[in-house]
């Protein structure tokens, strides 16, 4: 539903975003990761139509943002990093105003507003001045503003930043709930958030998209793109090394201290990591090699890289 095609943004004296290219399908919750200044906000601002890309095309359900901004914008709900609130307004008058701005049919306005207030737990605060509410509630109003017109795509720029742990959990639960009805693109610094919320993760670094993968697949990206398998053979180290050296794919064996645990690295790899099948085949090869030599293996597992490791690796210029 969202297509970002080869989009670049060049600012006057700094690099913005380069050759951003991805699509999003209906129902996805995508986590957008990257260090500060990597271009997350810029990308989001281009998708929402706040900034115009220098090059490239952004379209939503076939409506190109640069050509039909009104149609495209109607499909997007956007919560910027600081919720765009008018502090002097009451919660209700603010949402009423948003409804007018967002072309919500007058007859439906009342229902939509009460519906959204209900979903975001704002009932009972209708007539409070926004300034007097806590940061967590302000964030909720920001979310309410983004979903009141029932958009297909929800763009959230660091929705949990600056909140206390309880509020973070609340907002996260809300986002998870919203993910059932909307497609969500959210940027964050908190990697755990991506693990718990998102179906897919994209990492940007220095204005480039360096990783785009489903969260359940991401752990299988290995160190430097190599497959690593951890095992505990029930025999002497020398014997085990002998067996392992018989497998031609294995390039490195590292023993873990004094224990019998070792990590083997396969040389067979591709640039962008591997898929499940490849790591399984190495597991199998190791299993059968030991079986042939009549040696038991107590543990045998593919070593997965955590999101933290991947993030640090990708954003520190390595790989």
């Amino acid at each position: 539903m969202l297509e970002v095609r080869n989009v670049s943004k060049v600012f006057e004296n700094q690099r913005g975003v380069q050759h951003m290219d991805f699509t999003m399908q209906r129902g996805e919750i995508v986590g957008f990761l990257g260090p500060n200044g990597a271009g997350k906000t810029t990308t989001m601002r281009m998708i929402t139509g706040y900034l115009l890309p220098t090059k490239g095309i952004i379209s939503l359900d076939g409506h190109i943002m640069a050509e039909h901004p009104r149609e495209a914008k109607r499909k997007i709900g956007y919560l910027p990093e600081t919720p765009p609130l008018y502090m002097e307004m009451t919660v209700h008058s603010y949402l009423k105003w948003i409804a007018d701005l967002r072309d919500i049919p007058i007859r439906e306005t009342k229902k939509r507003i009460s519906d959204v207030m209900d979903r975001l737990g704002l009932i009972g605060r209708e007539n409070q001045i926004i300034r007097s509410l806590s940061k967590g509630y302000k964030q909720r109003i920001g979310l309410a503003q983004a979903i009141v017109h029932n958009p297909d795509l929800l763009i959230l720029d660091e929705p949990t930043s600056g909140l206390d742990p309880k509020q973070i959990t609340e907002i996260r639960d809300l986002i998870r709930e919203l993910g059932e009805r909307h497609t969500v693109l959210l940027s964050t610094h908190i990697l755990q958030e991506v693990n718990s919320l998102c179906t897919r993760v994209m990492i940007v670094n220095q204005g480039r998209l360096v990783l785009d993968e489903n969260t359940d697949q991401i752990g299988h990206r290995m160190n430097g793109g190599n497959v690593q398998v951890e095992l505990v053979p029930n025999c002497e180290r020398t014997k085990a090394e002998e067996i392992l050296n018989g497998i031609e794919d294995i390039s490195k064996i590292v023993w873990d201290g004094e224990s019998n645990r070792c990590t083997v690295t396969s040389s067979k790899s591709n640039e962008n990591g591997i898929n499940l099948n490849q790591s399984n085949s190495l597991n199998e090869q190791i299993f059968f090699a030991f079986a042939k030599a009549d040696v038991a293996v107590h543990e045998l597992k593919t070593r997965l890289m955590s999101l933290e490791e991947i993030f640090l690796k990708l954003t520190s210029g390595g790989m």
Binding site: F11, E12, R45, T48, G49, Y50, L51, L52, P69, R70, K73, R74, I76, Y78, P80, E81, T82, P84, L85, Y86, E88, M89, S93, W97, I98, D100, L101, R102, D103, Q145
Partner: protein, 236 residues
């Protein structure tokens, strides 16, 4: 239209939330009232011109106060992201804001109707002069508001916007005097751009179409410039 009106309505609300606008309203009514009563009691004649003689000077002070917030505040609080990512386009946003300032202007000028009401009790009023003068100060105010709106789009700081619009309005008001004193060769040309000198014909009771068109196109020019400034921010 609904979006434009929504933006206009919000701005009107903001006028009444903001202490600055109350200061501006107070300056307007106190100074205008003082000048009127002072001149009327000393001169003791029924002359509607004394209502309008000081208005351009008062506008010079209150217009920056009333317009400086309009766009700079949105830029400062990030609410421009909300406006620009809504289905409203820039023209609707800017015209909505401008319209709200025009409505405030209309209300302020409407408030000064009490002076002719007072004058009317003491003698006959020169109706053409009275109404054309009202038209003229309205046009003047609307043009000044457009300049203020434009200044407000240039910066995220209200105060800077206020100072910029005060300085530009001061310059535009004095441009005629400049022709009289220093740049005498340019007197006629400069006079064409003087916001104040254009008031002359209206204030003798004549509806001067060229002057009317001048004020309207002057206002439009600055509103369009505001739109362009904001459009440029998106391109950077």
């Amino acid at each position: 239209m609904r979006r434009l009106w929504a933006i206009c309505r919000k701005e009107l609300q903001m006028y009444f939330f903001s202490p600055v606008s109350y200061v501006a309203f107070a300056i307007y009514f106190v100074i205008e009232g003082y000048m009127f009563s002072n001149q009327f009691t000393t001169m003791q004649i029924v002359d509607v011109r004394i209502i309008f003689s000081n208005m351009s000077m008062i506008f010079l002070f209150i217009v920056p106060l009333l317009t400086m917030r309009l766009i700079s505040d949105e830029l400062r609080h990030g609410t421009d992201e909300l406006l620009m990512t809504s289905p409203a386009n820039l023209a609707e946003i800017v015209f909505g804001k401008y319209l709200s300032s025009i409505i405030v202007l209309f209300a302020l000028i409407g408030g000064s109707l009490m002076y002719p009401a007072i004058l009317g009790r003491f003698g006959d009023l020169d109706m053409p002069v009275l109404w054309m003068s009202y038209v003229s100060v309205f046009l003047l105010g609307a043009s000044m508001m457009a300049v203020g709106l434009f200044a407000s789009s240039l910066t995220i700081h209200q105060m800077v916007a206020g100072i910029v619009s005060f300085a530009s309005l001061l310059l535009l008001s004095m441009i005629g005097m400049l022709g009289n004193s220093m740049l005498t060769d340019w007197k006629d040309t400069l006079g064409l751009f003087s916001l104040i000198e254009r008031l002359g014909k209206f204030q003798v009771g004549v509806l001067s179409i060229p002057d009317l068109l001048f004020y309207v196109s002057f206002s439009l020019l600055f509103v369009v410039l505001t739109i362009l400034v904001l459009e440029r921010k998106r391109l950077r």
